[in-house]
């Protein structure tokens, strides 16, 4: 069984890879990719079922925070039921997203801003070294360069420092990261094709 799984994975990967270069194989490639999309959607559904199972266990065991698990399950089933009944385009369903999900997540993001600021202030207390100082100075410069003053822009920072940081330092670092990501993706793909890595299981 293990060999079958490995063989299926390798054959599917090779077909999709060949489909990029051979148009005749593009049809088979599309079929495989559609299967992959369907399986990804089913996986989301499986994730929902897993979420229900985990929090259901917590409620049964009356563990600490089981109340929140109960609220989560209630909201989940309510949204699912209302979504099936009303549909996604219903204004009430939009309100559910815009009035609950977006403010909650935006609030978390705002807390992240306070937390990052606090961490930056405490950084030199925890670790006083050159990189910490450089990090803080860079952050301060970018913050100042991204803002403007009431009476005008901070010309050297807005005109020179900020563009230079974005176009040179940030762009160079980002390219390096992207090249690394591309190589990693290529390597991972080859390893999966050769059966060395089997993320689908079948050790």
């Amino acid at each position: 069984m293990r060999y079958i799984a490995v063989a299926v994975a390798i054959v599917a990967g090779l077909i999709v890879l060949i489909g990029y270069f051979v148009p005749a194989v593009a049809g088979v490639q599309d079929v495989l990719l559609n299967w992959a999309i369907i399986l990804a959607g089913v996986a989301a559904l499986v994730g929902v079922f897993n979420l229900i199972s985990v929090h259901g266990d917590k409620i049964r065991r009356r563990e600490k925070g089981s109340v929140y698990s109960a609220i989560l399950l209630i909201c989940l089933f309510a949204s699912f039921i209302f979504g099936l009944a009303l549909g996604p385009d219903n204004p009430n369903m939009r309100l559910l997203v815009s009035a609950v999900i977006v403010p909650v997540e935006a609030t978390l993001m705002a807390l992240l801003a306070v937390t990052l600021l606090y961490a930056s202030i405490r950084l030199l207390r925890r670790r006083t070294d050159l990189m910490s100082i450089v990090f803080l100075l860079t952050a301060v410069l970018m913050l100042i360069a991204s803002a403007t003053l009431p009476f005008g822009e901070i010309s050297p920072l807005n005109d020179l420092v900020r563009p230079w940081f974005q176009q040179v330092l940030a762009l160079g670092g980002a390219r390096g990261i992207l090249i690394g990501v591309a190589l990693g993706t290529l390597t991972t793909g080859l390893r999966v094709l050769f059966g060395t890595d089997r993320p689908y299981g079948g050790n």
Partner: protein
């Protein structure tokens, strides 16, 4: 119980044991005496009778022949003796037996003893009775030849008389022949006798010349060595025939006591033995009377008073003087033409005609001093000039007789038997006389040589003498030390030099091996192995000084401090952290919220920069044909929806305002569809776009990268239905669109660089001429700049700054401008707090580290 350790096997044995119970090795040293054997026979003690008849078979042939002949002649002599007893005429002893001289008896005071020998023994020469009855001598010779036991029947009284030594006479250094009252002539008797023998005419029967006794000492030693080296069984007849070397006098004891074979006997003795029968036949009484002077040596003649006076001129016989000197011419054997020519001492040294008994075998060949008168012996001083060879013959003292003197080895290799140069010992002392008087006992105690031991043991075994106690020499072969070379044994210390008794000594320090095996206390127990001082006494009481006590107290304090609870200061730290967090939050809310809710536009909006990514995006929007299908991908999270809506609103507003494109909404996140609806119904509500008419929602595209690639290849197949489940591909917004390249532009709203990379990489090759504009949040912009620089992205609107530029390009203030003051204040406030807080943290950190160091 005292025990003694066997030197061979190491087993412990009783102290009184003589042989090891385990290996039957002798426990006492070789030089030691066996129990009771070394003790001399005390006066009144009857010597042990020895049965020597069993030794007959092992005797040499010549001895057995001689004994047979002696038996045959015994009957003839008995009749002759009866006749001679009746005859008053003194006759020369007619017996040719060479052992005639050994027929000395304790009660025979009339025995003929050479004066020189008497002088050597320290006894006063006795006037010989010339009219000695011949029958008496003949009878004495008979029992010697027949191995009789008359000697054992010797009266003990006489023996005791002879055993009594006279120390005064022994210590007298004046030789007997120097005594003026000595009338007997002793001057060079033997030499004179030998010289006369040379000049005397040959007897009736010619005899082969015999070398004189004055052979060289070198030859003597060789002869002795030959005796020593030749084994008992290895003797051959050829050697007997070839050995014509003259045998010295001092070798006679060895030859006599060696019953190995006829070959071991010197030739001259063999010759004498062979000639003995001829003497009996040829010699007649008139002839004996006709040549008394020539046939008899001077020492025999010196028995007369006239001759004894002249014989006192010389102290030492010439033959003694010449002993050890250059060899002289061999004397003719004619001197031995008759038995009367032979002196008694030579007769005694000559091999007996019959096999001797066991005592005779072990007996030294010294003349039987017991035949001498005891009173004469007492009076005879010991000559101090006694030669060494005679001293070597001296028996060991009675208390030192553990080492028998019978030895076939060369005397030179026996240092314990060699006389001490500084203390010349007389050859014949009173002790010797005593020992010889108790010959049987002494000889029984003497350690016989190996060849004799073998013979004795063989005979003993044959005679089933298992019950008899073993002789001293019988166990000689079984003892391990006997395996040592003879010269090594000779170098062993004599027990007499070690005044101790192994049996009685409780000391267990007996040597177990080597030349000293079996000896005790030979090596001193070195004092170096002993403790010279008493061992130092150590007290078990702990002695701790003040310093030790101080250190112990300090250690106790340290251990106590380890378990002592330390107050925690973490509470203050937590409070400070909370305060800081609350302070940061309040400051941010106060300044940012206050500015936002104040609605001020004090801060200057960022100025537009020509040909930057914003201008590129604006130009793309400006180039889109009016009413063209545009794909808008919502790929951001609700948490960043506020920023994304603010950034995307001016650009979409410009596009919708100017070009009225047909929008197709696609979401790559689960919440994207709802966010899209909120965005269209919120910030873009002024554009009045209706679903199904101006825009359509395809919903959520699952699959991530694969879904994007598949959608780029075949959008209809991947997303056949809209978000509401309707057929959207036949609706107005998607009219004429079957592929991704059919869209006029693809506007990607994303807050993640990864989502932008996926769309750029997977949909880029399939988008054809469709422009790709990315509207991203500030955090994802830097990561998408490379794609913009490479041309894979046609425009980029990054964050609120670029959105403000787009608004400026639109000429209409929007959310970007409304948020800009609060945004700027928030950035500046954050920068100030990081700077100030960083400095404070730096100082506080240094102080804390210094405080920690000081605490440590």
């Amino acid at each position: 119980m005292d025990t003694i350790k066997c030197p061979v096997c190491g087993e412990l044995n009783p102290a009184d044991a003589e042989f090891c119970q385990n290996c039957t090795s002798r426990l006492a040293p070789l030089t030691g005496s066996l129990k009771g054997e070394g003790a001399p026979i005390q006066p009144g003690q009857i010597p042990t009778k020895k049965v020597t008849a069993e030794l007959e078979p092992i005797l040499p042939q010549w001895l057995r022949d001689a004994r047979e002949k002696a038996r045959q002649s015994a009957s003839e002599d008995s009749s002759a003796s009866s006749l001679s007893a009746d005859s008053p005429t003194p006759t020369v002893p007619s017996t040719p037996d060479l052992l005639a001289g050994l027929t000395s008896q304790g009660n025979d005071e009339e025995e003929e003893v050479p004066d020189w020998l008497v002088s050597l023994t320290g006894n006063t020469p006795v006037q010989k009775k010339m009219n000695e009855p011949e029958a008496e001598d003949t009878q004495q010779v008979k029992w010697v030849e027949l191995g009789g036991h008359e000697d054992s029947e010797e009266p003990i009284s006489s023996i005791g008389a002879t055993q009594t030594p006279s120390k005064s006479s022994v210590e007298n250094t004046t030789p007997s022949w120097m005594m003026p009252q000595e009338p007997a002539p002793e001057k060079d008797e033997l030499a004179a006798w030998l010289s006369r023998a040379d000049q005397s005419p040959a007897p009736a029967q010619p005899i082969e010349p015999i070398p004189s006794a004055s052979a060289s000492s070198t030859e003597d030693l060789d002869w002795l060595k030959n005796l020593e080296s030749k084994p008992f069984a290895a003797a051959s007849t050829s050697e007997d025939q070839s050995s014509n070397q003259p045998k010295p006098f001092d070798s006679q004891p060895h030859s006599v006591t060696t019953p190995s074979s006829a070959s071991d006997v010197p030739d001259w003795l063999n010759n004498l033995q062979d000639q003995r029968s001829s003497f009996d036949e040829s010699i007649s009484p008139p002839a004996q009377e006709a040549q008394p002077a020539s046939s008899q040596p001077d020492w025999l003649q010196s028995n007369s008073p006239t001759q004894s006076e002249s014989s006192t001129q010389s102290e030492v016989p010439d033959w003694l003087k010449t002993f050890g000197q250059a060899p002289t011419a061999p004397e003719p054997s004619a001197s031995f033409s008759s038995s009367s020519d032979m002196p008694d001492w030579l007769k005694a040294a000559a091999p007996p005609s019959e096999a001797p008994n066991a005592a005779d075998l072990a007996r030294p060949s010294a003349p039987d001093i017991s035949s001498l008168p005891s009173q004469d012996i007492d009076k005879t001083p010991v000559a101090p000039e006694t030669p060494d060879w005679l001293s070597a013959l001296k028996p060991v003292e009675p208390e030192q007789q553990s080492v028998p003197t019978v030895n076939l080895e060369a005397p030179a290799f026996k240092p314990q038997e060699m006389p001490q140069p500084s203390e010349p010992t007389p050859a014949f002392t009173e002790d010797n006389l005593t020992a010889d008087a108790n010959a049987d006992a002494v000889f029984a105690s003497m350690q016989a040589p190996d060849w004799l031991t073998g013979a004795e043991s063989k005979s003993t075994d044959q005679s089933s003498s298992e019950t008899n106690p073993p002789l001293a020499g019988q166990t000689g072969q079984a003892i391990a030390p006997a395996e040592l070379p003879s010269w090594v044994q000779a170098m062993r210390p004599v027990e007499s030099a070690l005044p101790f008794s192994p049996a009685s000594s409780g000391d267990s320090s007996m040597e177990a091996g080597g030349p000293l095996a079996g000896l005790q206390n030979v090596l001193p127990s070195g004092s170096g192995f002993r403790l010279t001082t008493k061992p130092k006494a150590y007290s078990i009481k702990l002695t701790a000084t003040n310093e030790h006590q101080t250190q112990a107290a300090l250690l106790e304090q340290i251990l106590a401090a380890e378990t002592m609870p330390v107050p925690m200061k973490a509470a203050s730290v937590i409070m400070s952290q909370r305060v800081l967090r609350w302070a940061i939050t309040l400051l941010m809310i106060l300044f940012v919220g206050g500015i936002f809710f104040a609605g001020t536009q004090i801060f200057v909006a960022p100025a537009r920069v020509p040909n930057d990514q914003t201008e590129m995006a604006i130009s793309v929007a400006d180039k889109i044909p009016a009413g063209a299908p545009v794909l808008v991908v919502f790929d951001y999270e609700p948490s960043l929806s506020g920023e994304m809506q603010t950034v995307a609103e001016p650009y979409l507003n410009r596009l919708m305002l100017l070009k009225h494109p047909r929008l197709t909404i696609l979401s790559s996140s689960p919440t994207g569809s709802a966010l899209a609806e909120n965005f269209i119904s919120g910030p873009l509500a002024d554009r009045d776009y209706q679903r199904g008419k101006q825009y359509t929602d395809l919903g959520y595209l699952p699959g991530g990268l694969a879904g994007v690639y598949d959608f780029a290849q075949n959008p209809i197949a991947v997303m056949p239905f809209g978000a509401d489940g309707s057929q959207v591909w036949q609706t107005a917004p998607l009219q004429g669109v079957t592929h991704l390249s059919d869209f006029a532009a693809i506007i990607l709203l994303t807050d993640s660089a990864e989502a932008g990379r996926v769309w750029i990489e997977q949909a880029g090759p399939l988008r054809g001429n469709a422009s790709l504009v990315i509207v991203s949040s500030s955090q994802a912009g830097p990561m998408l700049m490379p794609y913009l620089a490479s041309g894979q992205v046609n425009g980029l609107i990054n964050g609120l700054n670029d959105a403000s530029k787009v608004e400026q390009a639109n000429g209409q203030a929007g959310l970007a401008r409304r948020y800009w003051d609060a945004y700027s204040v928030g950035l500046l406030l954050a920068a100030v707090m990081i700077l100030l807080g960083g400095l404070w943290s730096l100082v506080g950190g240094l102080q804390a580290r210094n405080a920690e160091k000081e605490e440590i």
